[in-house]
Amino acid sequence: MTTRPTMIEFRDVHKYYGDYHALRGITAQIRAGEFFSLLGPSGCGKTTLLRTIAGFEDISSGAVLIDGKDMSRVPANKRPTNMVFQSYAIFPHLSVQQNVAFGLRRDTRPQAEKDKMVAEALEMVGLKGYGARAAHALSGGQRQRVALARALILKPKVLLLDEPLSALDKKMREQMQVELIKLQRQVGITFVLVTHDQEEALVMSDRIAVMFEGEIAQLADPETLYRRPNSRRVADFIGVMNFLPAKVLGEAGGHIQVEAAGLGAFDIEAQQAPGAVTGGEASVGFRPETLTILYEGQTAQDRETAGTIDEVVYYGDMTYYDVKLDGVAAPVRISMRNVFGRPVLDVGTRTRVAWSPGALVLFR
């Protein structure tokens, strides 16, 4: 992927509500044409940050730039951004057609051309022929599409989406995730999505900013975020991660020597410690799928340890085993794909576990 120019830039953005420090020095860049997500628990400031792009929130200090222009004196109705609201904010007293055409009211184009634009926008979101319907007679998914068509008809530089899928049921949500990705590729507009759902962020985004308490904890592409979280907090928030107490023994030649409970002593590469560990007490983390339970006759490709199965959770395609590694009190979670002909193991079974130092992350 070629490096794209910057579309949105936050320069040390602070926001106070009275004494409450909602945004604490946000500095980040969102590239043109990318699908960017702001991910975090509720109250982390992600929605506030999105609203500073839209112009609904003033910032206390710092600057927000869109396409190189400082937005501090540009009100929301003059910004090259449009928003899809969490509640969709479909105007209930207007028809679908009127809703979608709302942004064109101030446009000087002839009516026939505007009608054509509305029809195209509706077709793009899969609502061809729905124009005459009353907005309040639509289902949740349809409202979502109307909101998208209404926001995209003005061809904004940035489309802002505030938890747009949170009101939909699981099936609908997964369907809309795929449709949103396709739509974004089709129109090529920069999408900024706010979500508290880590899975949603991983599925949809080119890059993700994980936020806690008004700060960006990590900004990276989904894979980096999942494989190399830079703190235990980010690791905990995204997916499941096992942690084992560890000690840093030394550092040499781009390698770090670590001794972890249940795993013994081993070397890892310096880049596996993104949180910059200096020495002493630490912990190592690994995802459930990076460990493998070994059956009779199987051998570990890299390293091997042993433990006892403490809990079994069967999911159909997957089985989650909580395994107590020898010498460690807290069980670690290991996920195994179920293969035909291979039995699901029982609680209390002694087992050998394959692991690899390369899959570990070292945390402070």
Partner: protein
């Protein structure tokens, strides 16, 4: 005979107590006799003719309508400002200010009337229907605010943001989105203020000077037994007018709900 449970008897008795006197109004309005008593004497429309020919009554009605319409319009306008401010913005002293505005709701009207009288006379203002209007705006505004607050609070704020985001100004957003969506509330507020003003007696009695309003005129005529059948005729007309008004209000309320797809959570009827 079926045994009536006590609560049902109570409910029936309550309804009879509430509406029987009102049913008597049209009966005696068409009764050919000046004494309000059974048995009825015969059918006549004389009292209605008398009512229409009465100039003072005509003036009282005109005064009352002017006062009621103006008070209702003003109270609703003030209500819009106050309710919007209360539901959309936070500012220091908000609770206190809203509390003070709502106070006339519980203040005895006689106190409002007397204190207004003292102030107005002290300022050298001549008593007229205008002074009544001032008093009525004062007592109607809290009702308007209470109704409009509900209307504004139930309005999703992101609707306004969405319109603003799509390039409208704050004012055109208000005109295109906010106003149509709170319209049922506006109509309710107007009609309730109108009704309160129309039958308000104490403030009108104190502040009208020599000008009659409908309630003060009716009160003054009750001293003359000869006039009572005409008052009955007038009462009949007012009851009819109220029913028409309520029907209109309900029609608009339901249409508003149907148009926005909301759920009907009860109303006037």
């Amino acid at each position: 005979m079926m045994k009536l449970p006590p609560l049902r008897i109570y409910a029936l008795a309550y309804l009879v107590f509430l509406y029987a006197p009102i049913v008597l109004l049209p009966i005696f309005a068409f009764n050919d006799g000046t004494i309000i008593a059974f048995p009825l004497k015969g059918f006549t429309t004389e009292w209605f003719a008398q009512m229409l020919a009465n100039d003072t009554l005509g003036r009282a009605l005109k005064n009352s309508l002017i006062i009621a319409v103006s008070s209702a319009v003003m109270a609703t306008c003030f209500g819009i400002f106050a309710a919007r401010a209360a539901s959309r913005f936070n500012f220091p002293g908000k609770g206190g200010i809203i509390g003070l505005i709502m106070l006339p709701l519980v203040l005895p009207e006689i106190i409002v009337a007397v204190s207004l009288l003292v102030v107005l006379l002290g300022m050298g203002v001549t008593l007229s229907i205008f002074t009544v209007m001032l008093g009525h705006i004062l007592i109607c505004t809290p009702y308007a605010i209470a109704i409009l607050n509900t209307a504004f609070n139930s309005l999703d704020r992101s609707l306004e943001e969405a319109a603003y985001d799509l390039g409208e100004t704050k004012w055109s957003t208000f005109r295109l989105i906010t106003l149509p969506l709170v319209m049922p509330g506006l109509i309710s507020s107007f009609l309730i203020s109108f009704t309160i003003s129309l039958d308000e007696f104490i403030i009108a009695f104190f502040l009208a000077g020599n000008e009659p309003t409908l309630p003060t005129y009716i009160f003054s005529q009750l001293r003359f037994p000869k006039q009572i059948p005409m008052i009955m005729a007038l009462g009949t007309c007012l009851v009819l007018a109220s029913i028409v008004l309520l029907t209109i209000a309900e029609y608009f309320r339901r249409r508003g709900i149907a148009r926005t797809g909301g759920k009907d959570t009860g109303g006037f009827l």
